[in-house]
């Protein structure tokens, strides 16, 4: 999957061109870039600005406003821990502390093996079955510290890759 995440001016421009005709195209373009490359490369900002007839400052301002968009490559998996009230009521604060200690990182950081980026999230809509976390695009419910450890071990274990 790492190959497809390599970016170039051409591939960025292709994503922009596919969406720039839409009304209010900026968010859809940013999503498309992040979905494809894992983050918004800084070289994308002038290309987007030029294509949408906006200033670089405007584009940068939008990227920095939204928590979802990131400007540095994340680890292989993004793990989000719900910090909101419904999960707090069933132990999210303890899970949060446990997760940081287990991974040895704080929010917005990536483990040294580049496997896991830890993020906070405010509600995943799984509020009757917390504490909840999201691993890439899948949500897990009733996550105990033990379940968290098992899941992280699973994520950090890579199958042997066959070259060729």
């Amino acid at each position: 999957m790492n190959e497809s995440r390599e970016w170039s001016s051409q591939s960025i421009q292709a994503e922009i061109n596919a969406l720039k005709h839409k009304p209010g195209a900026l968010l859809p373009i940013l999503h498309a870039l992040q979905d494809r490359f894992g983050f918004i490369p800084s070289d994308a900002i002038p290309l987007i600005a030029e294509s949408l007839q906006q200033t670089r400052a405007e584009v940068h301002g939008v990227i920095s406003f939204y928590h979802h968009f990131r400007t540095a490559p994340p680890g292989r998996h993004v793990v989000q821990i719900c910090r909101a009230e419904a999960c707090q009521a069933v132990g999210a604060r303890q899970l949060e502390a446990h997760a940081k200690a287990h991974l040895g990182i704080d929010y917005h950081q990536t483990t040294s093996d580049r496997e896991i980026t830890l993020e906070a999230v405010y509600c995943l809509g799984n509020c009757a079955c917390g504490p909840s976390i999201r691993v890439d695009d899948s949500v897990r419910g009733r996550v105990t510290p033990e379940a968290f450890d098992a899941l992280m071990d699973e994520l950090q274990t890579r199958p042997l890759e066959v070259m060729g």
Partner: protein, 518 residues
């Protein structure tokens, strides 16, 4: 004959292993030579029973739950496929589960019963009846029907939906829009998600009817990025609805048009505020706009725009199909129809409870919720999301009604009910409210942007027992300034949980003084 077995595919069921259960069922049934048809239905909203497996029998559907993959062998051994009820996980006929049977499901009548993406299923359960009725009527007629139903905005503000539609209908423009607010950011709420994941055509139908009512031909669903599964399901449902002629340039052969597109938010709570949402849809930072002008007059791209919550729009097909009267007979006072309540947090039986307005909070938490999950005494409950007040036991007999809650400086909001047991530290919860506001403030107005930061600091000082009395007075003042001086509900309501914690749980702010904080 092949037996139909249902394993839900909504986020909650999947978060608890529904895919593994479905795979195991398919494999074991095949090994045993049973012919089953696996249907990935929506959730019934009984979250504590997920994954809830159902089997279709000649006398109706039978439920089993919560099922883990390891239960599958024993369930099949005990006669799961015949609806046998000897296994401990057997719940009997699904419709007779008390939690479900005691609800008044109008909007959520179909969830969990159907395959969310099957248009045939949707039609077979009165789907598109409302749209077909609307296509026979004049725009003004449709607006009158919605007005007569008494439907009020379910996003939290409770503004009469029909009046909003009337304003948009009355404002001439070359282009109008229907925008669905699906930025369901309140903790403790998941009813919008259930609509989108479990009955997406209902939302599509509601938005199309809104389009016909106000003469708008373009709709957007502004969906939060935290809901990737809802995005996937909505995109597919829209594509299928277009193919079947329920969206596009020629709705059901009527020659009338309505187009729909899902747009993703990007993790900003403030974008649930309607003007901030419109800015975001236009591709900008989600800064709140001044009102007036109202979005109904100058909304998306400066055009007249209906901005409604998912649940408001989802209520519309029923109103058009069954008539305003059928909807308005439910409820109390000026709160007509049903409210989708969501039981969450430290609750034994969490899930979706759709009830007519007027039931009490206590009934909901005890009779439906069954008390706390931990088994410890219930201490506080936050209703209406992170901007809603924390209610102590003395307020649990409040009827669930917009006006009754407002009279107590509380809000029903989007119907989220988050329960906390006695281990909760309310000073810590108050601090979190300010911290959340600090993280999520759009930054446009000072009371919210600076006030929330100062709020965190002041609460920290109180908790550290520094100059307590002066800091408590300062916190009260700060809350007042934020309530009165903020531009929108974010800064204007963020103090509600703080003020309620101070009023009803003052001891928690004294712990440091008493020396019993570790």
């Amino acid at each position: 004959m092949s037996i139909r077995v249902f394993v839900p595919r909504d986020t909650t069921a999947l978060s608890l292993g529904a895919d593994a259960v479905a795979n195991r069922l398919a494999r074991e049934a095949a090994t045993r030579g049973h012919s089953i048809t696996l249907v990935r239905n929506g959730s019934r909203g009984l979250a504590w029973l997920e994954p809830l497996v159902e089997v279709e029998t000649p006398i109706g559907r039978f439920a089993y739950g919560p099922v883990s993959p390891n239960d599958v062998t024993a369930l099949l051994d005990s006669g799961l496929l015949e609806g046998n009820i000897s296994h401990p996980l057997a719940l009997g006929p699904t419709e007779e589960i008390a939690y479900l049977a005691r609800q008044q499901r109008l909007t959520f009548a179909r969830i969990g019963i159907t395959d969310p993406l099957s248009i045939e299923d949707y039609r077979a359960h009165t789907g598109f009846y409302g749209l077909e009725a609307a296509l026979q009527r004049e725009p003004q007629d449709i607006v009158e029907e919605v007005k007569a139903s008494g439907l009020r905005g379910r996003g939290g503000a409770a503004f009469p939906t029909g009046i909003k539609w009337q304003t948009v209908l009355d404002t001439p423009a070359d282009q109008k829009y229907i925008v669905c607010n699906a930025d369901e950011g309140d903790s403790g709420t998941f009813a919008d998600r259930l609509v989108m994941e479990c009955d997406p055509y209902m939302l599509i139908e509601g938005m199309t009817i809104a389009g016909l009512a106000v003469k708008a031909t373009q709709g957007y669903i502004y969906l939060r990025s935290e809901y990737p599964l809802a995005k996937e399901i909505l995109d597919e449902a829209i594509a299928r609805a277009e193919q079947a002629g329920y969206l596009g340039d020629n709705l059901c052969g009527s020659g009338r048009a309505f187009h729909l597109e899902v747009r993703l938010g990007a993790g900003a709570y403030i974008c649930g505020e309607e003007t901030s949402l419109l800015e975001s849809l236009e591709g900008k930072r989600g800064l709140v706009r001044f009102k007036p002008p109202l979005p109904a007059i100058e909304g998306l791209f400066g055009r007249p725009t209906v901005v409604n919550n998912v649940l408001s729009l989802a209520a519309v097909p029923f109103i058009l199909a069954e008539g305003a009267e059928a909807y308005a007979t439910h409820g109390m006072g000026r709160s007509r129809g049903t409210l989708a309540l969501q039981l969450a947090g430290n609750v034994k039986r969490g899930g979706l409870v759709e009830l007519a307005f007027g039931a009490t909070l206590r009934t909901l938490m005890e009779e439906f919720g069954g008390g706390t999950l931990s088994g410890k005494p219930l201490r506080a409950v936050q209703v209406g999301g992170p901007l809603g007040a924390y209610l102590p036991e003395s307020q649990w007999d409040l009827p669930l009604d917009y006006e009754a809650f407002a009279a107590e400086s509380a809000v029903l909001g989007h119907g989220g009910v988050v329960m906390f047991d006695e281990s909760v530290d309310m000073a810590e919860q108050a601090r979190f409210s300010m911290e959340f506001c600090k993280v999520e403030s759009c930054g446009k107005c000072t009371p919210c942007r600076i006030g929330s930061t100062r709020g965190v600091e002041v609460i920290d000082r109180i908790r550290a027992n520094q100059n307590r009395e002066a800091n408590l007075a300062l916190l009260h003042d700060l809350c007042e300034t934020m309530v009165d001086g903020s531009l929108c509900a974010m800064g204007g309501m963020a103090p509600f949980p703080v003020q309620s914690a101070l009023a009803h749980f003052p001891d928690d702010f004294q712990r440091a003084a008493n020396g019993d904080r570790s």
